[in-house]
Symmetry: C2
Subunit: 421 residues, 2 copies
């Protein structure tokens, strides 16, 4: 008997029929003798519907009240799923985050989980019940409802799995695992049977939206064995087949991993780049530029500063495209007055393409293969940034699909490793 | 400065524009220097939508899960209203029932309030905030969400007013007060400026659906000054005019009341009558008949048993029309075998019409005027039941409108008392 946490996304919970499918899948696992905790998202569209109502009333609604409103979507889901389970003879009980409780800080709309009390859930599991817990939400130390931000149900599920020392956390989505890249762009993209935690982290942060990045961090921190798999397979598929499907996020590099140097090509088109030219090369400059950006609550992704020439340098970074104008304003209104820099320029029409792979660490030549491939396609590289297991380049956005396809092929990702299919 | 509780129904909260109107009305009261607590219902249609989803999943959904689901409607409402208040510069904070907390027993879907903690609410009021509390719901002693049943938001509002020792509880509805009868049936029906608690109780239980009956009981038990008034009047109407509008539920009979013998004509068409003929006249018979009915969770309204003749009597009662068949089955399957009674007969096509008035106590001739009026219209009376302040008759249902109009006129309800208009 194992303790398994299931997480279902909004699409899987999107109608009465789909909720019944979720219930059948949960029942199959429960009847096989496992203890099951389920963390469902709100029915698809529901959170957006609720937040749109709030936006109609106020351009910048109070975040505490937004959480009060948004948290209801998941509360409806847990109640409906518990009823669907009882309808097919499985004893079940639902809890909102505050009932468990799932404790968080008070950062409304983007709260972080601080602790989860497992006593109540464990008592129900021991009594043979399936426990259905709201994703996406918790409660602060004085009883205010908080939410974890978009995609937060993934994080809830992994956190619940960690608190309960669950044997596995199964994240059911509308894709059947993690792919070498987006199959909509590269039809030859392959599903990975396994991906390391570090790779998954890079993929998630690079815009492969299979899992919310914080859930991956949580999985890594607490060593939660997490599997991404499809909720679109028939719920009555044999348990042993289902248990081996999808993509497993692992914490060890095994031998088979050595073969694949690059695990996937990630990309996104959500960013804009900004360059402050002719910045004096002296200590504290980076802080003087990015401090006001951070104060304005603008997240920065890539940061690039090259060796200075003649006492000045160019300082570049990328922000989310929605915050591009705001970032330019901050720089022009504040930063430029305090440092004797040159022009502030930028471009929102960029994309970022990254090669990610744990094998990169021990292999030379990855960067040169990447740059040569892009060069052969006539694609100019605007910016480069690297980490231990990834190389990212910023390109003009119209080249994104072309670059992804060329790199996917160049790194041999369209062929199974070791000749396995 | 007074402490005032406002309650708004689902129609008043039914759209963004209507919520904005509610906010403007609340703001007017708040700006006049009053401390304001608001108890809104779920947006109209929302509770039905949620319960319909549950019913699709299970013919008899688990009541705990139903409450989990249904409670979200009001939680959305309080968040939206707090946001709407902030949008017009009024500081506001929302609470779900469990956050106050509003403590109840564990009778899911029909819980009763046991206590309300006022500390948190009072601190917010003292800080100048409008406090918005979910109607319809509370929390039991181990943290399960409970709901108070249909119309429970009225009860929540009055209970909150009682706990806070509020100066007044204003129930905003889609009618502008309590009428001598339904204006849709009798165009001459007049709005009552005042009605006593006892009369209101009879009117509510008799199907004048202005207020939920339990809210009236609560108002009476805790002497909460409660006013029913319209949310359809412009929210910017002068405060002193609005504060005097609607119908006030009073706890004293004042002089003006002596004038009106009958305050109103109530009616409903939701009941069915059942008669067990030739029941042996011996102790315990009433219990033997109604015990199994109560065990089947069927509510009984009128109960009539006349003096026995020749050792047997006929025992009649009324139930909700939806439970008529079930009640007949209980009697035929269970009761008839244990008591040597005659036929069980019944009729779902009945109506009940009642004259209600605190003045009835000190006036003779009310009953005879009522019976004469019905007789003059050729209406046969099937059953009669009286209390200290009301006389109810059961009639064939097709006569309902005719009877109501005739009685409204006969008791002079279409003319203002004392010649006032």
């Amino acid at each position: 008997m194992s303790l398994i946490v299931h997480k279902y996304g909004g699409t899987s919970m999107g109608s009465v029929e789909r909720i019944q499918n979720v219930a059948r899948r949960v029942a199959k696992w429960h009847k096989a003798g496992h203890q099951i905790v389920v963390v469902p998202s709100a029915m698809s569209g529901e959170t957006n519907r609720l937040l749109a109502l709030a936006k109609e009333l106020h351009a910048q609604p109070d975040p505490r009240e937004l959480d009060m409103i948004a948290a209801t979507g998941e509360q409806v889901s847990v109640g409906l799923l518990a009823i669907a389970l009882k309808a097919i003879g499985v004893d079940a009980v639902s809890y909102a985050g505050w009932q468990v409780p799932v404790r968080t800080d008070r950062a409304y709309t983007k709260a972080r989980i601080s602790s989860i009390d497992d006593a109540r859930v464990r008592a129900d599991l021991d009594a043979g019940r399936v426990v259905v817990i709201t994703g996406f939400q918790g409660v602060d130390d004085v009883g205010n409802i908080t939410t974890l931000g978009r995609g937060g149900s993934d994080t809830s599920a992994v956190a619940v799995a960690a608190a309960l020392h669950a044997d596995e956390c199964l994240i059911y989505t509308d894709v059947d695992g993690v792919y070498t890249t987006d199959p909509r762009i590269v039809p030859e993209a392959r599903r990975l049977e396994r991906v390391t935690f570090e790779e998954m982290l890079e993929m998630a942060s690079l815009g492969s939206k299979v899992l919310q990045i914080r859930s991956v961090e949580f999985a890594g921190k607490y060593k939660v064995k997490t599997r991404v798999l499809s909720s679109l397979t028939p719920p009555d598929i044999a348990l042993d087949i289902e248990a081996e499907s999808g993509t497993l996020i692992t914490f060890e590099e095994d031998e088979s991993m050595e073969q694949a140097v690059i695990s996937g090509i990630a990309f996104n088109r959500d960013e804009a780049k900004i360059t402050v030219a002719n910045v004096p090369d002296r200590p504290g400059i980076a802080f003087q530029i990015l401090g006001p950006i951070a104060e304005a609550n603008i997240d920065v992704d890539m940061i690039i500063q090259n060796q200075s020439m003649n006492g000045t340098t160019d300082f570049s970074f990328t922000v989310h495209r929605n915050e591009y104008q705001k970032a330019l304003e901050v720089l022009n209104n504040t930063v430029k007055q305090h440092i004797a820099a040159g022009a502030v320029t930028g471009d929102p029409k960029i994309c970022k393409v990254s090669a990610v792979g744990i094998g990169m660490r021990s292999h030379v030549g990855i960067a040169s293969l990447m740059f040569r491939t892009l060069s052969e396609e006539g694609i100019n590289i605007q910016m480069i940034s690297t980490s231990e297991i990834k190389i990212s380049v910023v390109l003009e956005d119209k080249y994104m699909e072309l670059a992804v396809r060329a790199l996917h092929k160049a790194f041999g990702l369209d062929q199974a490793p070791n000749g396995a299919q």
